[in-house]
Point group: C3
Chain length 325, copies 3
């Protein structure tokens, strides 16, 4: 597994070239085929991934830990309450010691204005790759899974329209990382992105700017609309998902009031009809059923949420094999 | 590992034929021999079992997780507090996603009137086998271990008398699953079962009826007595164990009062003398020493509790290898 | 892996001969080389180590669990809150059942006047080796790592001076196990030990006596001083570390007052200058930066703390392979 990305951190797709990302998708497809055919893939035999969870997540833990087992290695689930991790100087000790023992450090840390800083601090001190399992700014593994799913459904992705739409769900601190990672990466693969969002739910300005720059460089487009329907009209792919008004306020009551100001931002069959005939519905799960989306849509024929969840496993296995090999 | 039980759920022995159950006991004996001889048995290489514990249990966790390692795979310990599992629609997501990642789902959920429903719900949605680690109605793996132990001690089991006796211990919600699984399965293997129980501690009526039907079909017998000694008289095997008066009351104070109404329902050497010369004492552990049983009995020569605990490992390895292979 | 130490418990180095300990260091060096060269070392293929933590520790858990993976086996992380372990008779059940399932039991239990008793109780009942991950009296794995590190730096260890110095840090119940294990084992390998300690922070009298006896038998020396600097003067190795005044008081307020009575017992560059040119600074981590040691020293060129932490992995792998093989 010698490769130019061996040892490379994966905190945002921005640090990876399109060619490097393509290697992940190629290996992911190959590993998916091998799993279906029951072929062993011990690319990381006897290797260890440390999975540090500041925030709980079943899907993320299970996909990483199962992936390590399928690659012949082992994932260790660590939660900071059992670890006495604090911030600051201790990231240095954590990074240095784990670098001596194992082969990779995966971290989930979604606290606003803290998570991404912590990941970068550990990455600076660590001599083994640091892989993001989501922070307050990015969720790059989710977007790898989304893109693999889109490619499986449509083949060529250049020219596809993807709508990223905010939805109204009562969780005022849900991170910005999924929509931000979507608008950053999808234009680089030739997709035209429409972000539909109420004014108070805009994303980090520097991320929106980078998304526009990515689109310009790739010859695709990135647009922002204040109209929910615009994410669906003539779209091939739509990802309606809630997040908090974090760029506007971090106040609890004000946050909830803003969410309740837009109750009609919920994906139903009437919205799905606005897209192309083959429009697919995506969501990283868990979805807030009834608030973010109706059961008809998420359980219906246009929904690919379980294919999308499954692809988390395959892209992460490819990522681990390439960086930790 | 192609077999007719590949992919089959194991929630109650009632869903398995005697021939199917025999395959478990045969493979268990073979795996036990291989372990003793140090022969590798990688029947589930690189496979993953998800172990979801709504209720804690060291023995169950360690036997399943160690078993997966000995079969070449990996068991992931999951507790709902780290998983945000709630009931209802989310069982669908849990089942569907885990089915895409791994190879089996084991669940322990003993809450009265909830556990078995949850297992069945996950099983309906899951495309990989669901294995019970105990619910409010059944504890089939324990009974597999019990039966293997009895067969090891006696060879042929037809015509043996097994006493299942309630004991008085201060835990008013302890599940009915062990005695219920015992009275259901043992008659199918030709054993004559006597259930000794105070009137307020009777088991679920439909289970008692099914046990009687099983005995009738197999040409063995099933009797219920309100006399503790009747479980021991002329018995070959006895399992004295506490459970709650759940069919009578779920009220805390009333439950405790009922338990204290029968303080003499405790297994001592005087009871062991009522059985056959070779009578063995069984208990799934942990036992409430001093309340359920005297130290003389549980630590004495008739006790086979550690052999019984050991067999959990072997029967579960066989079960996993057959269903998840 | 047949050997005279196969099956042997490791609770204190006192129960192991110098020749037996040498076998650990030899195999540790070999396993370290194999890891660097990427050679597989499946000495414990499909074996299971139970790791029971009464007290949290990231470093200890990660080094043991990673070590088991690198040896082809699996470590199961158990915390008593999920296990319903209580003391007394239940150690018997825990030991007996785990002995039937797996291959080794590692325990960390630092409660004063409880931990070592518990380890010994489990060891008496267990038929598989019990390995200490630290108790209230001993931390033998840490000292194995320390000694391997010293040997790597200096080659021959006979005649080296090691200073073990108490430091002032606000944790009045920190165990005595590290300094006690240092003064016990280092003289047996020919090192001259100076223990620098305020009168109220003396170690267990029987341990100090045993250390002196060990030095006498080995032709090395063991001295106790009430002067911090004496640990550094002409030393080759120094381990400045805090522990509680447990032999003097277990009272919270009195303990803290005693710690604050000696604020100058902190390792700085001025102390490091007192030693030989090649003096190395050691600490088992995590260090209380600013109280136990200055950043200049612990992050400086004389510090070998990460090499020391790394060697935990290698010595423990050797220990496990030799005792559990």
């Amino acid at each position: 597994m010698n490769s130019s990305v061996n040892g490379k951190d994966f905190i945002t797709t921005q640090d990876w070239t399109v060619e490097e990302l393509e290697r992940i998708f190629e290996l992911a497809a190959e590993l998916k085929r091998s799993k279906r055919e029951g072929k062993p893939t011990p690319l990381l035999a006897a290797k260890t991934l440390y999975m540090i969870f500041f925030d709980a997540s079943t899907r993320t833990r299970n996909s990483f830990e199962t992936g390590m087992t399928q690659l012949g290695g082992h994932g260790i689930f660590l939660s900071p309450d059992k670890m006495q991790i604090s911030h600051g100087e201790n990231a240095r000790d954590t990074a240095n010691v784990l670098s001596r023992y194992g082969d990779g450090i995966a971290i989930r840390h979604c606290a606003f204005r803290e998570g991404n800083d912590y990941l970068n601090e550990v990455a600076r001190e660590s001599s083994i790759p640091v892989l993001s399992m989501q922070d307050d700014v990015y969720h790059p593994c989710q977007i790898l899974a989304d893109y693999l799913t889109i490619r499986e459904k449509f083949g060529e992705t250049r020219g596809l329209k993807i709508g990223v739409a905010w939805t109204s769900a009562p969780n005022y601190v849900r991170p910005l990382s999924v929509p931000q990672s979507l608008i950053l990466m999808m234009p680089r693969f030739g997709m035209d992105v429409t972000l539909a969002v109420p004014p108070e739910f805009r994303l980090m300005p520097e991320i929106e700017e980078q998304a526009a720059a990515n689109a310009a460089a790739a010859g695709s487009s990135f647009q922002i609309s204040n109209n929910f329907e615009d994410a669906f009209t003539d779209a091939d792919v739509v990802v309606p998902k809630s997040w908090g008004p974090l760029m506007h306020t971090t106040d609890h009551d004000e946050g909830f009031a803003l969410i309740e100001k837009y109750p009609s931002w919920r994906c139903g069959t009437e919205h799905m009809k606005l897209g192309k005939q083959h429009l697919i519905y995506m969501h990283p799960l868990p979805a807030d059923r009834g608030r973010e989306v109706t059961d008809e849509v998420i359980d219906g024929p246009q929904s690919v949420v379980y294919d999308e969840a499954e692809n988390r496993l395959h892209v992460q296995k490819a990522l681990m094999a390439l960086t930790m090999g």
